[in-house]
Symmetry: C2
DNA sequence: AGCAGAAATGGTAGCGCTGTCATACGACCA
DNA sequence: TGGTCGTATGACAGCGCTACCATTTCTGCT
């Protein structure tokens, strides 16, 4: 049976109704008599009809797409945000359309251009750094725009995230309250991950407020990883052995630092405090749970999607949603 | 300037050519005089024209989409496959359209239905277990189908992955060669992850061949996690203390097992061998690298995308691509 | 019975683009 | 000089659906 794909018209013919009625049944929109609905459903079933969304999008100028641009898929943080977005979209019928920018603004721009070709209802991006052209395209296209992860900058339309500056600040206040005084810092590439810099700034501010300063710090180029955390902490300790706590720019690095301590026979907390950021599962699964900050990544994605659905109209002109964070005391600091 | 979105027609008018010529320039298709191309490009630029893919898809009945269905975003394995798919698609112009099935065949079916509405060139799925309706829909739609991760089953069209049965078999042969005799097994939910069962079967076959058998095994319902690995190994050891090696159904669990050993003062390898599967970064970043099997997830995604692009025609009728695996000796077994 | 008003259904005209076929124009050769 | 080919362009129909009005049929009420 080499028949062609059936269209609305065939379904309508088989069910003995007009095309628009079938369309209404398919989209669950408008008043339809139960009997008619039944008849149409049967026709759809028996023909194996699959609606053509391209046609629907064209006719209605509304696509059921929501563009999502993430900087990376290697770091588990972003798949979690994506999970949140799926959760927030629920069964609204909207489909995420995903692009990965590799932390490259130029690439982000190209992705935005290609996503806009699908007439998405909104574009969700992790981060606030865009090329001028990107911002212009988004403005002209009049889609809603959500910028996720941090709320330390002025959003184009909607921002959902947490204040990394405050998180960094509070982390250090927490550590000072626990008696730590000689701070070290291990971080990764700032240019790629601006949020790490915000946390660092908050950290420095808190130290300064207490008349303290970083005894030592080390940053390496390239993405964060457990291995890098391990090696960088080793190097830092060699250079400055007499710290009592090290703050890492995230949990990946902190877990690496923990592994270094294991290898070097350093007892975490008692001999050297370790503090991360994110609250990843792996940190909480260590023999001793990592002291860190929970960043609610799933929630960020979920809330963003929900807000966008809630108000599909025009930009609200700078709404900011704070999803907060929470210090996990753990047992490494 | 509250102008509407410009269309092909406006661009054509401004450039003083016909619509089809603009279309040809945009798609880089057909012979166009350099001078004309220039003129059209300028017009596009000055209007800020963004093509409407929905219209293009409808007119040409070919969408530049490739449907991708993954069972989970929580396990880093699948984002890595997705990265591979992006890499394989390169700048072909094809866009992945992602669905997440949560290891649920019914949900997979719904996702397939909704993806097909976009007339994708192909559908990529991780796994071989589908509902009858799913298979029927895919067959009738005549898109290409790629089934990823394992090659132990007959594919609908294209399979890319490795033989988990052989991987399990070889792992145990390797461990036997290293002198281990008293085997334990820690695994997770089989119904969700059939590949884990294939590895288990290979493992048992290898043991039987050498006149050995599992001394003890423990499986828990639910997804794999580091915590679960830790707890399950603890329980297994309590029940059967005298094993000399434990094979885990994957690295997440094995890392958890490693953490248990740390807490319990068991020296990995010397007192108890630990063996995983996947070759995750985290395993290789431990103070002592995990003994495991590298499963080339990125490559699986990449090769699948490349093969699909290579031959966009009709299904090849059961092509199988073996991306292989590699035993990582590590230092925990 | 008669009528307003709601509920259910249909006719028609595009949405913006591309496939198909036709046409115009040189360049080249005999 | 005329014919042939290849390159460059255009006219037009239509992809499958939905928005926007009708129009018809059913209530419930006086």
């Amino acid at each position: 049976m080499g028949r062609e794909k059936p269209t609305l018209t065939e379904v309508a013919r088989l069910a003995g109704v007009s095309e628009i009625t079938v369309s209404r049944v398919v989209r669950n929109k408008g008043p339809i008599a139960e009997k008619t609905r039944e008849r149409v459903r049967n026709a759809i079933q028996s023909l194996g009809y699959v609606p053509n969304r391209a046609a629907g999008t064209l006719a209605s100028a509304a696509s059921l797409f929501i563009g999502v641009i993430l900087p990376s898929m290697s770091n588990i943080v972003f798949p979690e945000v994506l999970r949140g977005i799926y959760a927030g979209l629920g069964d609204s019928g909207y489909q995420p359309l995903l692009g990965v920018s590799d932390y490259d603004m130029q690439k982000e721009q190209e992705i935005v251009a290609s996503l806009l070709a699908w007439q998405p209802m909104a574009v969700v991006m992790a981060g606030f750094e865009h090329t001028e052209a990107t911002v212009r395209m988004l403005a002209e296209s009049r889609v809603r725009v959500a910028e996720l992860m941090d709320i330390d900058s002025q959003p184009i339309d909607l921002a959902v995230g947490l204040s990394h500056r405050r998180a960094g600040y509070d982390s250090v206040k927490h550590l000072i309250a626990r008696g730590y005084r000689r701070f070290g810092y291990v971080g990764h590439d700032w240019d790629a991950d601006r949020r790490a810099r915000f946390r660092y700034e908050g950290l420095c501010a808190a130290l300064a407020e207490s008349g303290l300063r970083l005894e030592a710090e080390k940053r390496f180029a390239g993405p964060s990883s457990t291995i890098a955390g391990r090696e960088t902490l080793a190097a830092l300790l060699q250079q400055t052995p007499d710290m009592d706590v090290v703050v890492f720019s995230n949990d990946d690095l902190a877990v690496g630092g923990y592994f270094h301590c294991l290898s070097a026979g350093i007892v975490p907390r008692d001999q050297l405090g370790l503090f991360g950021f994110n609250g990843l599962d792996i940190g909480q699964a260590l023999p001793v749970p990592l002291s860190t900050v929970r960043s609610n990544r799933f929630l960020i994605g979920k809330v963003a999607a929900e807000r966008l659905l809630e108000n599909r109209g025009r930009p609200s002109g700078g709404e900011i949603v704070d999803t907060g964070y929470e210090i996990i005391p753990g047992a490494t600091a």
